[in-house]
Each structure stands twice: as structure tokens, then as C-alpha cells.
Symmetry: C2
Subunit: 349 residues, 2 copies
DNA sequence: TTGTAAGCGTTATCAT
DNA sequence: ATGATAACGCTTACAA
């Protein structure tokens, strides 16, 4: 037998005051009542375990404290970090997180977005699954506050928080050259609908062109699930480079680790036979982080994923509380973490 | 210029019918009205881009399709896996996930729970931060459907989905003995308020007693943040075991990895000088999983975290749709994955 | 310092 | 087949 829900009326009755007073109490205007009233309300709430209904409150106030978040791939460490940042920033502000995983599927993203919208979210944080995204553009145009996380959407200027990883990639490329490597190889996943991978791929090509002085386009390997795997790419790359000293660069954690396994499988040693480096998603909990598990530890570009969650949330709350702001592009700095996997010479100071 | 929200009244007026009829239309009872009424309502909705308010509807209906989930530590791989299972199971059923991280903080858990309750969640999935948890007990008693994930709550029988990892630990201990290890060491974190760690600790003591024939209580090391670290524990353990062959067992991923780093720091080699093993959280995405990054690969008890999310969700939905069921305890099987870190002898078939 | 009363946008209960 | 009307639990002028 489900007990009847405790309402503001019950509290009012129990405390011998009016709903109004209880409402004031709930909303922090505890100064607007007498000492005894306050105390009796407190007691009544405690006794009955009363929890005010946000639903009723929202209906009246025409606003919710729900924030929607969609992530492209919840199984990636990047997402965990992002969620962690978002969740911890939002909680003390009284917002509740509505989360949806889109499994990198544009249609699922639209469904999720619609569902979040129907729930009355007062703003949206989107780590989008598609670079071409008319639905999101429409949604933004119809007035919903939106902040993108990490990934851009084509043909529209959104508020976005992302990282300057491409810039940091340039430093990384320079570092590999300084260490005596002569042939950077870039391993990326399907990038056609993913701005982050696009940016990194471009950064790779431009930086190598500038620093090494040749066009490395033929050394970009796109791993495709089930068909093009890291090991065969690596084998192919190496066979065409008899007298070169290669260094493998991944476009994200997963790619880099795949290449690592491929390197092991081919029996090559790091950093002598080949260098290894790539981005690293976690800016927390280094304990479980793969660059530190691998021997030698892996040189990475550290992506500030938690910070991205925090900044995106902050910006979103800003937009919610004060609409009609022009879009901002917030670029968070990445850190180049040089470790043994690329150190053939002496460690720089 | 905030656009005025289109309501059911507007549609009723525009279509020249009553709210009731429009409500019927919205709720799929399109048979309960005349052909023309139906058509005019359809047209009105299309014209105005009307979206019914879930909030108002929920207030009236006393029900939502919101499911609340609290996780004790969102930064752990276990949580990612759990969330992934929950989220993927619930999405196609039309439920929306409300998630909160409690940072292993009992007070924060209560706040989060209250917040979720206030949102009108129709059920709660709880990976609790506290074994002593009166608030949760009260909440359950007042009628909210709850299913615990992985961790028990003391003094109350909840529905729970967890794993049989203690049982699997017994197999693990037997395995270590068969491999010639003579001194199992158990490394655990603060376990006083955490049923999973308690169960594992007990399982360790009982199994060693049974299989090795002595009481290993003094070989249980509780790592405390900032004060008791893995390396000093390990050093202490080793100094008192001159002619023994130790094997280190972690109580979870983090602990095991910490011990791994401690072993490296002391310059010991695995599995010759010391064995290493422990639970492993991810039952997906092995690519980034630490047991495969470490050389030699680490023997683990694989925790079915994704499956836990799925089963817990399934059970919760069952309880929501059909209340008044007696609590079930669902124990998911774990897999013992023997790898090189504990193999001193020949690999068993 | 406290209360009254009118809604918020729906759905449910009766009617007709 | 359709409608009037009363809730749902809360907030907010406006009074007192």
C-alpha cells in the first residue's frame, strides 16, 4: 500500500501555519517568519521526510533546473571525465543532470535531444555525434541555450568549449623531430563527421609539412572497425620505410593504445625501433591511466576533459541566467607530457 | 521578447473544441472524437508547433518516466560500465535517466537522492555510498521502487543486483596456491562503510584460512588516502616474510594498480618475485583496460558491471510496473581470468 | 510576521 | 462524441 505523498499542505497543517509560510521556508526566505514558526516547520519537515515537488514548482515558475547532456560515446574515458566535471559543477548549483548516450549515432542523438527537450531542460550540453547537424542548429535558433563540448557543428556558430590540442600537436611534432625521428605516422578513426579528429588530422599534416618539410598525407591511416586494423596499417607503413625512424601518433586514447598493441605484436621496441605518443583523455585519476601502465610510459597531449565539463557548464548556466549573449569559443590549453616512449635522447629539462 | 508558450487552451480555442478533447487527442484516444474535430486539432497543433507540457501532465498524473541513478564514484571504470548498461537498457523503453554522482559521500548521497525524488523519479537505482543508510531505508519504506547496484545496505532487505565476486575470490586463492605462492597479501581501501570491500575482505580471510591453513588477518592492508600508501605496506609485508613467496591481491582496480606501481618502484619482478591479481571493472572496451596494458598481463576477477546495470534496470522497471513484489537478490557470475601475472608454472588448460 | 486566493497546463470525473 | 469543472502541489501578488 503506497502511502500518500506528503505535500506542502500537510506540512502547513502540521506546523499550524499557511502554505505560504512553508513555501517561504522552502525557498530560503527563513527570515520572513517568526522563530517558532520556523522551528515548527523544520520539525514537521523532518518528521514527515517531506520533499517539495519540483514538478509543481516548475509548473508554476515556468522553469526547470534540469540540464541535458548528450555524450557521443559513454564508454570512452573522455566522456567519464566530461560527465564528472559537469556533474560536480552543477550539483551545488541545484541543477540536475539529464544524461543521454548517443553511441556516436546521429539519429539516436536527435531522438535523445528531443526527449531531453520534452522534459523541459533549461539548457543543453552537447558532445555531438555529428558535424553536420541541422537539428541542433534549429534547436538553438528556437531559443534553447546550448553549449557544445569539444566537437564543433558545421555551418553554425555555437557557444563551444574545446581544447587547443591541434596547437599542442605542433609542439609534439617538433619534439619528435628533435628526438631524431624521421617519419611521423598518424593513426585516426573515422573522421568525416567528427570535428576533433578533423582538426587533429589537419594539425598533423600542417605541422609535419612545416617542421619536417614534406607532405605526410600518405602516412595518415584511418582505422575502420572490422576492416582496417592498426597492425596491418603499421606493417604497411613500415614496409615502405626502409631507412626511416618512425614514430606513431594516435588521434585519441583508443587509437594510441591500439597502435601500442600492434607495435608489441610486431615485436618492436619503444622508443628505439619506433616512438609512440597520442592524446590522453583523463585529467584526473592518473592511477588507472594507460600512459602510466605502459612501459615505457607514453608521451601524451593531455586533454582537459574535466575542465571542459566545468567550463561548459559554467558557460551554460551563464547563458541560462542571462540570455541573448553572443556565442563564445572557449579554448582550453592542453599540456604536452613528454615521457619515455618518445625519448631517444636525453630528457629535456 | 520571450515567445508565449502555446498551451492546450490555445489549441482548444483554435480548433473550436474543449481542452478535454485536445487532451484525448494528445493521449492517443483519437477514436473518441469526430473526424472533423480530429483534423482541426491536428492542424492547430501543426500550425502552432505545440508541444504538450510534460511537467503539467506529470503533476496531474503523479508519474514520470524518469529513473534516478546515483553512483558512488563517477571517476571509476565501474561506474562508467554501470551507467552504460543502465542507459542502454532504459533508453528504448522510453525512460530517461537522471544521474547524480555522490563522490562516496553519504551526505551528498542524501542530497542527491532528495533532489531526484523531488524531480518525481518513478524509481531509483542506487550504487550507495553508505552501508548504514537510514534515509534510503525510509525512502524505500515510503513506497519508492529501489534497486541497489553492487553494494548492500545494512539492516534492510532491498532488491539488489550484485556479483558473486567473493565466491570467485575463493577460486583465485586456490589458483595462487597451485602456482606455488605461499603468502597472499590483501590490499583494500577504507572498507568500514562499503559492503563490497567487506565481502571481499571476508572472502580473502576465509579462503586463505581454508586453502592455506592459516589466518591471514595480519596480511590485510588498508590503504588510507594520504597516510597509508601501497608502497610502505608492501615494504612492511615483505620485510616480515623472509622465506615466503608473496602474492598481492587488490580489492578493486585502483588498489591493484597502486600495488602494481609499488611493486615496480621496489624493483620486484612479476610473477617471479611476487604475484599480482585483483578485480577488473570493465566488461567492455578491453582496449583501454589496465590488465592488458601491464606486462605481464594481470590475472583478474572480471566484474560484470555493464550486466549489473542491465539487470538492475530490468528489475527496477519490473517493480515500477508491478509493485508489491518481495525483494530479490540477483547475483551475477564473475569470471576468473588467469593471465601471466600469477603464472609461475605451466598455464592450466 | 503571516495568510488568502488565484493561477501554472494538464488530466480525471462526471455530465450531457 | 464532447464539455464543464475540479483537482495536482506549488508560487506569488496582495492583504492584513
Amino acid at each position: 500500500m503506497p502511502k500518500k505523498r506528503v505535500t506542502i499542505n500537510d506540512i502547513a497543517k502540521a506546523a499550524g501555519v499557511s502554505k505560504t509560510t512553508v513555501s517561504r521556508y522552502i525557498n530560503g526566505r527563513k527570515d520572513l517568519m517568526g522563530e517558532q514558526a520556523r522551528e515548527r516547520i523544520r520539525a514537521a519537515i523532518e518528521m514527515t521526510n517531506y520533499v517539495p515537488s519540483d514538478i509543481a514548482s516548475n509548473l508554476k515558475k515556468h522553469t526547470t533546473n534540469l540540464i541535458g547532456l548528450t555524450v557521443a560515446d559513454i564508454t570512452s574515458p573522455f566522456s567519464s571525465a566530461l560527465i564528472s566535471g559537469v556533474s560536480n559543477y552543477l550539483e551545488p548549483l541545484g541543477y540536475t543532470l539529464l544524461m543521454a548516450d548517443t553511441s556516436d549515432n546521429p539519429e539516436k542523438e536527435i531522438r535523445s535531444l528531443k526527449s531531453l527537450l520534452a522534459k523541459g531542460v533549461s539548457g543543453l550540453l552537447v558532445n555531438t555525434a555529428s558535424y553536420s547537424n541541422d537539428f541542433l542548429i534549429q534547436t538553438e535558433c528556437s531559443g534553447t541555450p546550448i553549449v557544445l563540448c569539444d566537437r564543433y557543428v558545421r555551418n553554425h556558430t555555437f557557444d563551444i568549449v574545446t581544447s587547443n590540442s591541434p596547437e599542442c600537436f605542433a609542439k609534439l611534432i617538433a619534439h619528435t623531430k628533435a628526438q631524431g625521428y624521421t617519419r611521423p605516422l598518424f593513426f585516426v578513426q573515422e573522421w568525416e563527421n567528427n570535428s576533433t579528429r578533423m582538426r587533429l588530422r589537419d594539425a598533423f599534416i600542417h605541422s609535419v609539412q612545416e617542421i619536417y618539410g614534406y607532405d605526410p598525407s600518405s602516412d595518415v591511416f584511418t582505422l575502420r572497425p572490422g576492416s582496417v586494423d592498426a597492425q596491418s596499417c603499421l606493417r604497411r607503413a613500415l614496409s615502405s620505410q626502409k631507412h626511416q625512424l618512425p614514430i606513431a601518433i594516435g588521434c585519441n586514447s583508443i587509437t594510441t593504445v591500439r597502435v601500442y598493441h600492434a607495435i608489441r605484436a610486431l615485436g618492436l621496441s619503444i622508443p628505439q625501433d619506433i616512438g609512440l605518443c597520442g592524446p590522453e583523455d583523463w585529467d584526473w585519476a592518473n592511477e588507472l591511466n594507460w600512459p602510466f601502465m605502459i612501459e615505457p610510459n607514453v608521451t601524451t597531449v593531455k586533454i582537459p576533459a574535466v575542465q571542459m565539463g566545468i567550463h561548459a557548464s559554467r558557460r551554460l548556466v551563464e547563458k541560462i541566467e542571462q540570455p541573448d549573449q553572443s556565442p563564445q569559443e572557449i579554448l582550453l590549453p592542453c599540456e604536452l607530457c613528454i615521457r619515455d616512449s618518445t625519448l631517444r635522447k636525453i630528457k629535456p629539462l
